[in-house]
Symmetry: D2
Subunit: 251 residues, 4 copies
């Protein structure tokens, strides 16, 4: 996979791929599926700096075999209608890889994915409304690499609304806050470290709206992929029995 | 001061007291001055749990003598038109008390006060507009004591707008986020620890609007006073030359 | 339970209660069991401010029925040898109560309890050695209520060593850091908010050492109980479908 | 400066350069001065990825003219004996550049430099002892880029001791914690964001010890330089009067 692009970030774009199959409205917005749209966007934005593949729910092991994950620097996750269909063993496997250093970008309704809830430890619940709200995304972390080149605010003309209270641990870094035409606010770009891995939650992307076709949204996901890529060798934190090395002793 | 109310929180409400003297519009909204309005609100909300005094810019030493500060658990600060007239020596004195454990509640345009900038280390700049925006204040920290009993959202019908990017260090705890009728957002309730002291920044309260008459706003300031009160004896962190106590030794 | 002590903090001290039954060495240190020792310490330190009960693994539902948890402000948890014997359904129940506002104090080897791992989302692994190390516990959060009245450092003459890297999310507040006679360090007092609840991890307390008989250790657990007690009504964060209230509209 | 190394990080290594002139003991350890030693180490570790210059107290404007700072991505700062001799106007200038995006690495006794205190807002006081302690530096942030390739622990055979309580704001990310032969601990690698800039405090480096000759210490400073380099165009956060763009309106 990496022959042509030494040093490129290896991204696997995971899609639930349910709405695309059953909802005509979604097929119209995303004729190539949501995951292929996101994958194409990353290739477009990052060029030689990235190698992108896709995987989806209906594949064997949801396309997330040990081999695929070991060959993935950053995994993006979009799910909504079928969180419950994701195999717990695969969720555990993904978590092990995140804690070992693989980056994870949780997109929109992935706030309720098993993997995100498992990494957060909270309910991850929120308020919502699907009525063509306008969303404004404001940068609140000056100079953060994920916000690089993004307008202030970024305007998404039509989106589902997600509102506070978003039941997540306080982010290690809060990058974006959204407001909606109903006046609601939402912490829409949230950075976490978990184990050796980095996790970024990014709010926009309901299946009924063309959000992932919007260049600035694509740019944020590309920026996040660069931010989330590991800088150290992958390694799961484990227990060690440590002998006293004898540097110091009780006096 | 504390004879009648053993264990009461001793609050000093500091007011710049400039607009009240020169602007008819402000006098109409705050005929008793802004600081007396805030002081009365704290007495009303906290009853026997608080002892409140006021101090203002035009007093000797701005009313913030060593004796007053030593007898103050929590200081609230409102300033806007005359930040530059505050004596640097008094600012240093207030900072020493905050770092020793005195709580500080910085209100609205106090984001540009010398004391707040000094404690933050950043420009504390922001975007603004004074055109009767409606402000919605949303709680983003579930169960935080400063948000206790506050509606979600708290609606302020008319206020000045403050928008991001608010150039502050990332808050230790972010409690409130506001949105405005122009679609802007703002981190409007921010908790910090500095030295032994706790600092809370609370956004609303432009002099032209009756914000400090609003019971929910008063409740937040009362909650914050309880949160910011010291729980340990006051003590300024200082350098100590520490002898090796001989617990451990180099082997 | 609360008739006699209006406003008292209701603490449930949970013990695994396995070592006490099978290990003569532990019975000698804790003839009344570890959980009864901790419970007595809390009663001693907090007096009328607390009502304490105990519960343990071998009871029906591990003593943690819905009724008990609903009547508990703060739950302390000690486990080591039998983490796997704790029923997943009970763990889920405890988690729901924490996210609703119940405080949780995870003690020592509870770093590997199901409930702590579930709330953290990481492996919670660490380094260790059980060879009578001396532990020094240093306060790094000036003026924090959990450190109130605690010597700097607090010296524990003999303890198991826990060393970094401790695989936890970065604490919302880091209160204590320990060093050991082997030169290792450990983040030994860690505060988190999860949902509406507060979580405190406190390192010392291996079953082979008399740590929970030491007054300063007891004081820290008492301080933590006060810190972790909820200040708002208990409520699990949940999803709400929010109608547009019409404050603002798309122009 | 950047002709030969397009994309290289431009580092300015600033030295107080007082001990080197007056203390024979320091000259023996650092015959080329401390700042030239650090500069050479960065060139050695980062090669083509860096362009390094030096500046020092005794130069005009301490060598930190507007031109130099505008051409600097990351500034490292070592000072100890002459903090008071640094011109306040230069400190303000450096602060403006940090808040605009220039990285700052504060080394050892720079905890008491005017620039570090100004960015922190606290006393930055600590405990100390200069008696050839052994220091162990432990990584507590798994997979952090500043810790990449660093042994766990990193052992420094002889150093001055710095102990808690270190009066700093809680770091945005805590990377390293040290222990000393006297049993003391210290948060020895601390990351902050201030404005658009990144600040890293790194503890070791007393003038009497050969710390900056140690390859692992050099590697940490090199890692920090990469971490602290700006990723966005330099820009000082400033106040903007924002007109209502008319996206939303009060209903």
């Amino acid at each position: 996979m990496t022959e042509q692009n030494q040093g490129a970030i290896r991204v696997t774009v995971w899609g639930e791929n349910v709405h695309e199959g059953r909802d005509e409205s979604v097929r119209k917005v995303y004729p190539d599926t949501m995951h292929e749209t996101i994958a194409a966007a990353l290739r477009d934005k990052l060029g030689q700096d990235v190698v992108v593949r896709t995987a989806w729910l209906q594949q064997d092991e949801h396309g997330l075999t040990e081999e695929v994950l070991a060959d993935t620097d950053v995994l993006t996750w979009w799910g909504h209608a079928a969180h419950g269909d994701v195999d717990d063993a695969i969720v555990d496997r993904v978590q092990q890889h995140v804690l070992s250093g693989m980056g994870l970008i949780a997109l929109h309704s992935a706030h309720f994915s098993k993997i995100f809830i498992k990494l957060m430890g909270t309910t991850c619940s929120l308020d919502w409304r699907a009525e063509n709200d306008r969303e404004l995304i404001w940068t609140v972390a000056a100079g953060h690499p994920i916000a690089q080149g993004i307008p202030h605010p970024l305007v998404i003309e039509r989106e589902e609304m997600y509102g506070e209270l978003f039941d997540i641990p306080q982010p290690d870094e809060l990058v974006f806050v959204s407001s909606f035409s109903g006046g609601e606010v939402f912490r829409s770009g949230c950075c976490y470290r978990r184990g050796q891995g980095r996790v970024f939650y990014f709010r926009p992307g309901d299946q009924e709206y063309p959000t992932y076709h919007q260049p600035e949204v694509q740019q944020i996901i590309a920026n996040a992929a660069k931010w989330a890529a590991p800088t150290s060798p992958r390694q799961l934190p484990t227990v060690h029995h440590r002998k006293n090395p004898g540097w110091f002793e009780k006096a």
